[in-house]
Subunit: 416 residues, 2 copies
């Protein structure tokens, strides 16, 4: 099925002044995708008649479907009806049935001006189909344009969404929801090359990469290929990414760690130095994380590493706090203190100070302690990384790496 083009307009000065974050665009875009429309442009416009008329004129000539949310209420700054009338050069006429529907709302006002304001909601573009409100008082309107249709909807999401669905009902619901792949320990440019290679023969699949320090996500969307081909493409991309692909349905890395640990009945403890609680915070962000995560020690000072994790003062003074020996000692100490099956530790130099030629800023050691399910014996190992970036970047990357160490161990994947 060929995708049809659509644009979204959200109306309100609260959006262009930055006083509210626009969530309607995302809601409408996702809904349109499932009905076979591709949105390439979404515009937020102030309560400014001139700017809104220009936007509607331009977009109704360029797109098969234009959805407008907001500006249909009774107040003076609700200008969407007037703007649509001017843009499409159609008269507004007061609909007598809607006047009846609005009567209870009209009766709540004594002032003639206020009554007239309420009645403005009964003004309809000539030839428009009226979408009655399920909640609220503002009806929607669906009207033909040069290229297709214009759909006017109220701004409040609870009024807007059911009306949008009704307006779209006669369009065929074929398109699949987009797929989101999570990618660990791989630069975004490398992920891109691999995914491009995997889906090179597939037309009608769009993809984009989103990245944060330590975490890369690839979004694959159906833009005409159909749901089955999208699944194929996502699976092919995931296979090309191999062990680096930690989820193919949008889960976060922490969610995968918590879920897989809970499924295998294994418990987790943490010992953090330079990440200072970030790994614990990431795991506990997941609802239900208490089924796998027991606790952690943030051992920021050397004394804390000794007192709470049992890393001996000699080991710290001999090898330094940022060393394989201390990382392994911290992991073993956390495993023992919290009596868990797994423990991961992080000790490093996040900067901006504290680096040396030997151990520059970004040097981070990770420790992993694992209790054998059969005989209860504990094996310990460690991993060194030189992480780029500022203090925040190093800490974010170290957090992602600690989670990936856990994921690979829990799922029995090759160690980092």
């Amino acid at each position: 099925m060929a995708h049809r083009s659509a644009a979204i307009v959200t109306v309100g000065s609260e959006l262009t002044l930055g006083l509210r974050i626009d969530t309607n665009t995302a809601t409408v875009a996702r809904t349109l995708a499932t009905y076979g429309f591709t949105v390439t442009e979404a515009v937020s416009v102030a309560d400014n008649l001139e700017v809104l008329v220009a936007a509607l004129r331009r977009l109704t000539y360029a797109y098969e479907l234009v959805i407008v949310t907001g500006g249909l209420g009774p107040t003076h700054d609700d200008i969407t009806r007037e703007a649509a009338a001017a843009a499409l050069d159609l008269p507004l006429t007061r609909d007598s049935r809607l006047v009846e529907v609005l009567r209870p709302a009209v009766c709540r006002h004594r002032d003639d001006g206020a009554r007239e304001q309420v009645l403005r909601q009964a003004d309809v573009l000539r030839g428009a189909e009226i979408l009655d409100p399920e909640t609220g008082t503002a009806p929607g309107q669906l009207v033909a344009t040069a290229c297709g249709e214009l759909l006017l909807l109220p701004g409040p999401p609870s009024e807007m969404l059911p009306m949008l669905m009704r307006g779209l009902q006669r369009k065929s619901p074929v398109c699949a929801a987009p797929r989101e792949l999570g990618i660990a320990q791989m630069p975004e440019s490398e992920a891109q090359v691999l995914i491009e290679g995997a889906i090179t023969d597939m037309r009608g699949i769009g993809f984009t990469i989103l990245s944060k320090p330590g975490d890369v996500r690839a979004l694959l969307a159906d833009s005409g290929a159909g749901g089955e081909r999208l699944s194929e493409a996502a699976d092919a991309a995931a296979e090309a990414l191999g062990v680096h692909c930690y989820s193919s349905h949008g889960e976060s890395l922490a969610e995968v760690v918590v879920r897989s640990a809970a499924q295998s009945g294994r418990t987790i403890a943490l010992a953090e130095s330079c990440t200072g609680g970030m790994v614990c915070a990431a795991l506990t962000e997941v609802p239900g994380s208490s089924s796998a995560f027991i606790g952690g020690v943030v051992a920021y000072s050397n004394d804390a590493k000794t007192a709470l994790l049992g890393v001996s003062e000699e080991v710290v003074s001999q090898h330094g706090a940022v060393s394989a020996q201390v990382a392994e000692g911290m992991a073993a100490g956390a495993l023992a203190a919290f009596d868990t099956d797994l423990a991961v530790s992080v000790t490093g130099i996040a900067g901006p100070d504290g680096g040396s030629s030997d151990k520059p800023v970004g040097t981070v050691w990770f420790g992993l302690a694992v209790r054998s399910p059969s005989d209860g014996s504990v094996r310990v190992r460690s991993l060194l990384r030189r992480l780029p970036g500022t203090r925040t970047g190093v800490r974010d990357r170290a957090t992602a790496t600690a989670l990936e160490v856990l994921r690979r161990e829990i799922l029995g994947l090759p160690a980092l």
Copy 2:
């Protein structure tokens, strides 16, 4: 001073597909307002060269300032540079200094294609001023247009915002740098009324409120009054906010806690349950935090509260893990374990599960243990809060409250 016109463009198919909610528009719009710009139009564009070129051409002819965020990274769908070059009819040339800056990022790749991708970030519009990144690798660009200027910024908010402020400061050299007040434990509407009252007679001062769960910030900007009047206004606003104003020069609450503890030579430990490491992570985000922060225990399970913090099993079973007694026991336990002057604890129900009629989701107890500098005796107290919001909102608010408990104790302010 007359307001100037501006438009915002956010680039990324994840926005027009509805996979991400666009927060950059609101952030940029509020920031522009404090610099005397009015935004009437904000456009989100897919990673589609043709559509983006058309949008940039149209907007740079209509507005004095056009801000673009996103699409400056290294991957194939980062098309903002090419689109701006086509829209303004300016060539792109590779900047040799930026090539040097990018060398470490280039060296992490073996593949020539991937190296070339990274180097695309060194491509600059002819005549553009380069804004070096503070974090990340994508530089910003500021270039003249028919009506004013076009400013290209990276998409990630933490990279985008500081670069936007720098770009605007250059453009409006008359304006003094904005002042940022941090406000704790006060709703944004109340803060707004107090600040409005304090600066009501002052013309040429713009202000805007930015709020996140648990933290409110007021940005005051000079829009014609001059630096001295801005200082007066900021001081008047801070005075009106009273004890709730924790900083008047943009410091975060965690920065104030770390700095004031370090100045008074006092050390801090944490014991966290429902915040799961977030308070520790906030404190250790501050460079140099090791001068005051010693460590923390994330005691997520009841066993961990007993084993690491010495809270007796009887107290937990008698009063429940979310209680004054357990909060005080956790704080006292952390003080003893890390041998610090102060310790704060957090134990609560973040949700979505675990609430009861008695202790609904959002019930959070905080404990504070303080060692007397004179005789070494320890006093302990606790505080109950019912925090609104989702799991994330409750955790964010609980983190901010724990930091505020610390700030008030360290500075000798009235307790919460």
